[in-house]
Symmetry: C2
């Protein structure tokens, strides 16, 4: 029997709170002891990835308490409830089924009279067939010419994840000769966004995917009109250049304005929709359906490891447990996400959404106020770039900010150059190894300005190479981590009530139905 | 007489600490009172910008205390010392002269036997002449063909600022028919970065600018070799495709491997170098020297307003004072930077560096430990994108995160579309106005999940349009804000000792001179 309780009602959490912050990373990580820790504090993941937490402020005693917390909070049982189709999104009274877009972890889930795994698979298959025809030149523009570019029109979850994954695999795909179409993205209601993107697009050979689950997202509908306008001005037939990704009940689903429509549903939140048709359409068109299938396989494999009840074998669960320890016991409020891979340049922006929108809540899943901290601020940029930017504060600032590194032994393209006796890839990897130890151990110095206090905890996920499979596994890891964090905090990680008020007030501004400060600001901004 | 004292030794700061956090934004901003506040709490800046702080948790009593703090901390006098050439960078024993790249605020500054304003101006003029010849086809590739693309090779300060400003003005330049050359950027030592960029570049017609003040930045030298390799493999003469931006004493300065070399010096920190040759070369080549000159004029004008001793008339000073109030009295640790302008997509990443590398320090300018919080974490993405991402946490999370909005009445390109009775630009502006009030005032609701506590303070800089001038004024505002913050915290905002340890350890890893945890991680990463 699953019971949903606030974190601070759990006795294992109260035990954890009694832990003194007495562990010194500079001691734990020193000498052969440190080497043994690196070997021991590691959890294998899917697609050849490994999660390393040797540089976290935990020892066997704390890990035991964290395992007790995992048990008392029924993390594994709650995940099982979720993938078996329970109504986990209590606020909106919805199931949470994004895992079914990439596999079947538990029992078949039937909703709306259909088997949902089959439904999602069917959409994938439809997309694969459609993409195949586009690539083969069977579906073409009005002049019988092949489409060469695909442009996603979407915002938030319909933009960040697909964009991050496209960028993650674009150069890998070129190297492996499987980039079928170049992809671009339009998201912002700022008209300079579509203007800028359309300038780089060969309109007659561009296919646009309009992505909105509800079919009512104002930014997206506005940008759709913007693009239709541009197509018409270019003498093109917009309906021959546009696809829809939406829910079956949305106004977009039955419109004749699209070449085709692919469906998702209310059981998939925007920020978890990369593995649904939302990511599937653009990634299948850009890379080919087989590459998207490999990406989904990586996700499915990693979902399986997240279903393991033992946190010592479950990287997502361990990552979540340690993060809650850092947030609620050690009191850290920000996490930096630092992939040592240029291809992951927008992965932090996507995870920023996935995490902060999921767990930035002040009420529990029953809508009751809670008395502890929840979701952290997430930010990050790729290394080594970040080292020449904000790392100064991470090393010597007055706040401790836990770090999440990602690194790969091989570059994606395997073109490299030797300078001063080492390749670029070796330099990249040497830097991330060095940073872990620098942050953990610090360095004393006579001059306090050159002193590094250390004691900055970090984890790292290490893989062989960023491929469709490992990219999928990475994304799945974080999705599942944020879910486990939500279970621990007892919040609903799948709604987003906090976005409503701004929408309501913006509508009032546009209707000139305002007064006071709002009216003043609207006037200053020329509305 | 200027005296440099820790923040907590100032009696005006002790007075401020006694302030109770009793102001309620939801009351201050309500009704006609709110409208009056919006009118009153505003400071004109250069280039038609205005800094609005009505939605900050201050009233006249607190503003008076902040003004007293500005006086006791001698903010204006310290800035005067700086621009008159004092050795403000105490750690590295250097002057801090970046303002001289765009104007002369005070007395002539002579160093190394030359007038520094003249030196910087001379470099600008050299760049302008060079760029003019490239644009006119007088300087060409080895086949007498015009260069069409310019690629910056640099990292950190040699990358983030120039890249942010290029992106800020790229579409404006196209609209105003003044984009002379497309610009690209290579920064990361990850070999996938140069591979990806070079795939998008027409090598025979590309000009590369290698930017490193010391001429020894390992990432940059490595990427320079990477590019030379690619040029040679393409049968091109690398020395006909490369420029250097460096200091006169660097090994790059005297190399014959470059078409030309332009200089900066040790008095300009990387993160403050956008207005020097570091930004000047690429921006002049991309947009034309006259556009870069307009950008510098915007900076110079805004520097002048920052020199005003009265914080009520000095936006950078007021912004800094309020931020220190929020950081040290109210206890907030993170600031979100939210430009409602897609063109400013990488402006937050640049300011993240400029702020966090400048003020993420735990010792004062004399190298003594300090007992209060310094530099905040800065992150941000353009609106309205962010609204569909991390705003959930900003509105309803358990932490209060102050917000800095930027908005413009007009889009850059003035192409727009009407949907549901309003243009995209009006929607954009309506949203930012709505967010200010939503964050400040919140909204009650029977259902706690739909409740917005409000009391989230924000400021906004409003301008007519993002142009070269207003873009320059914006950048100058933040540079000067971070400087004033540093003065208040009594830290040296112009060194970066915190980046050293990682470099040392990375060198050891590459030399296989490691043991313990570092050796283990290096092995796991294949080094």
């Amino acid at each position: 029997m699953i019971s949903w309780n606030n974190l601070d009602t759990l006795s294992s959490y109260q035990e954890l709170l009694k832990t003194k912050d007495s562990l010194k990373l500079s001691e734990l990580m020193a000498g052969e002891n440190g080497a043994a820790r690196v070997a021991e504090y590691a959890i294998p993941m899917a697609a050849g990835l490994t999660y390393h937490y040797a540089a976290k402020k935990v020892d066997d005693a704390i890990l035991e308490k964290l395992a007790a917390l995992a048990g008392e909070a029924q993390l594994s049982g709650k995940f099982r409830e979720l993938y078996n189709g329970a109504v986990i999104n209590t606020g909106e009274k919805r199931r949470v089924l994004h895992q079914l877009t990439r596999g079947q972890l538990g029992d078949p889930v039937t909703a709306d009279g259909v088997d949902k795994r089959s439904f999602y698979k069917e959409q994938q298959d439809k997309i694969a067939v459609f993409a195949g025809k586009v690539h083969a030149g069977e579906i073409t523009n009005e002049n019988g010419e092949k489409f060469t570019t695909v442009v996603q029109i979407g915002i938030g979850g319909s933009d960040l994840g697909p964009r991050a994954i496209y960028l993650a695999l674009e150069n890998w795909a070129i190297t492996h000769d499987t980039l079928k179409m170049k992809a671009k993205f339009i998201s912002n209601v700022d008209p300079d966004d579509p203007v800028g993107v359309l300038r780089e697009v060969d309109l007659p050979h561009a296919l646009f995917i309009v992505v909105s689950k509800s079919g009512t997202t104002l930014e997206t509908l506005t940008n759709e009109m913007f693009v239709k306008d541009a197509l018409e001005k270019a003498g093109l037939d917009a309906s021959k250049h546009m696809l829809a990704v939406t829910s079956e009940t949305s106004p977009m689903a039955s419109s004749s304005g699209y070449l085709a429509a692919f469906f998702m549903d209310d059981y998939i939140g925007g920020r978890y929709s990369t593995s649904s048709a939302v990511g599937g359409a653009i990634l299948s068109l850009a890379f080919g359906p087989d590459i998207f299938a490999r990406f989904l396989n990586g996700m499915a494999e990693e979902d399986k490891t997240a279903a393991c009840p033992d946190p010592m074998k479950n990287a997502a669960m361990m990552d979540a447990l340690i993060s809650v320890y850092e947030r609620n016991v050690l009191g850290y409020g920000v996490t930096a996400l630092l992939p040592y891979s240029q291809a992951l340049s927008r992965f932090p922006a996507h995870l920023q959404q996935a995490s902060m929108e999921s767990n930035g809540k002040s009420v529990n899943r029953f809508g009751e106020p809670i008395n502890y901290k929840t979701g952290e601020v997430i930010f990050g940029e790729p290394g080594t770039n970040g080292q020449h930017s904000f790392y100064q504060l991470l090393h010597q600032g007055t706040e401790i900010i836990p770090l999440q590194f990602i690194g790969f032994r091989k570059s994606q393209n395997e073109t490299d150059v030797e300078v001063k006796g080492s390749s670029s890839q070796k330099k990249l990897c040497a830097n991330v190894a060095a940073q872990i130890v620098a942050f953990a151990c610090g360095k004393d110095d006579e001059n306090p300005a050159k002193r590094f206090a250390g004691e900055r905890p970090s984890s790292i996920i290490i893989g062989e190479q960023l491929t469709p499979e490992s990219c999928g596994a990475l994304l799945s890891h974080y999705e599942n981590k944020f879910m486990f964090q939500g279970f621990l905090w007892n919040v609903n990680s799948f709604d987003q009530e906090g976005v409503q008020l701004g929408k309501v007030l913006a509508t009032r501004v546009l209707a000139h139905n305002t007064d006071g400060a709002l009216k003043s600001f609207a006037e200053l901004l020329g509305v």
